[in-house]
Symmetry: C2
Subunit: 192 residues, 2 copies
DNA sequence: CGACACATGTAACACGTTACATGATTTG
DNA sequence: CAAATCATGTAACGTGTTACATGTGTCG
């Protein structure tokens, strides 16, 4: 539900043909998100079927598309709608950790620890990427902001993993003595 | 690519039948993520087709499933894999803002502002939800952590939106004088 | 008995994604 | 001329999701 709405949003600026939508989409996202042209055409057909777009008077041999009134309404709502609410997103990292938590605690802690390590590495990469983009001004706002978004998300995920670890350790301490929880890799270690 | 792997992970603890997987999945996620049983069966068939699961000797009239060796390998890798990398996720909020940014600046600022407002409201709701769960201890770790994850994500998104707004305003100031950028709703206003 | 949880499955559809085929036009 | 870009499309597949049909067992 991203390409679909994205195409609608692009068409709100005026009629365009399929290939133009592809290039517009990629330009708008700073070249970070590539789009297979074929998907544009299939998506346009589906949008036509749903009454959101219609054929616009063609200039030359090209098929041009325009928003219908319903389509315009749809985009209008889309701008204000908060994504990822209703239904709440089934996040894969969260699911993974939760499933790990319903297994043996030491395995769970291992998964959390490794996920955090990987995320920290990823974070460092993205920071370098962000710096690179910040220096080369020609890169455009879009690509820059995409990296920033990934950065902030990764940071949030790491914080969440820390939280998970705390909770597991607490729970382990609560059921202390017998079956001692393996506390591998002391939390907040030298990493970072 | 979450239900699929989730089922594999659950089967790693030993053979189960379809309905049991549904309940296990929902229990593991603290009841936050419901799962249509039908999806379990179709997913199991697809996993069988791909050689990740196979029929296990049935006790009574129920069909039991077990992991194959390939399936076990698959789960093993899944635990360590960082989700959302390769390919980078096409996040809808990010796309929305980027598309807004390629339009008129005042509309972009309006979208950013409204998204932030909605997210702040959502955040407040989730904080209350988190508190409620914290007080009622019977709720289980899982549901608790899910809410925390949503909370931290929302905070990260809000921070990112602030960043976007800054950049837009900066860009607007750079091209100062003629065509002045509308600076509606002073950042960091009385909200929150 | 009636409601509810347990249990299995099918059919249909949504969106995203890739690979492939085909041709016109531009440009080095 | 050859390669790249522009331009349109089709076919096939993958996962997620819902709705529906069907039957057993249990418990108040």
């Amino acid at each position: 539900m991203a390409v679909r709405e994205g195409i609608l949003a692009l068409l709100a600026d005026g009629p365009r043909h399929g290939y133009g939508l592809k290039t517009s989409f990629e330009r708008a996202t700073g070249g970070v998100w590539r789009l297979n042209v074929g998907q544009v055409y299939t998506t346009l057909e589906r949008l036509e079927r749903d009454g959101f777009v219609a054929a616009a008077p063609a200039d030359d041999g090209q098929r041009s598309w325009r928003l219908t009134d319903r389509g315009r309404d749809e985009v209008g709502e889309w701008w204000w709608a908060v994504p990822g609410e209703e239904p709440p997103p089934r996040d894969e990292l969260v699911l993974k950790i939760l499933l790990a938590l319903s297994g043996p605690p030491d395995h769970a802690l291992e998964v959390i620890s490794r996920q955090r390590d990987s995320l920290l590495t990823l974070l460092a990469q993205r920071r370098r990427e962000a710096d690179r983009r910040r220096r080369s001004a020609g890169d455009g706002l879009a690509g820059h902001l995409v990296v920033d978004a990934l950065l902030l998300r990764a940071e949030a995920d790491i914080r969440w993993l820390d939280l998970c670890e705390e909770r597991v350790v607490e729970a382990g301490d609560a059921g202390r003595s017998e079956e001692p929880v393996v506390r591998r890799r002391s939390r907040r270690g030298g990493r970072r």
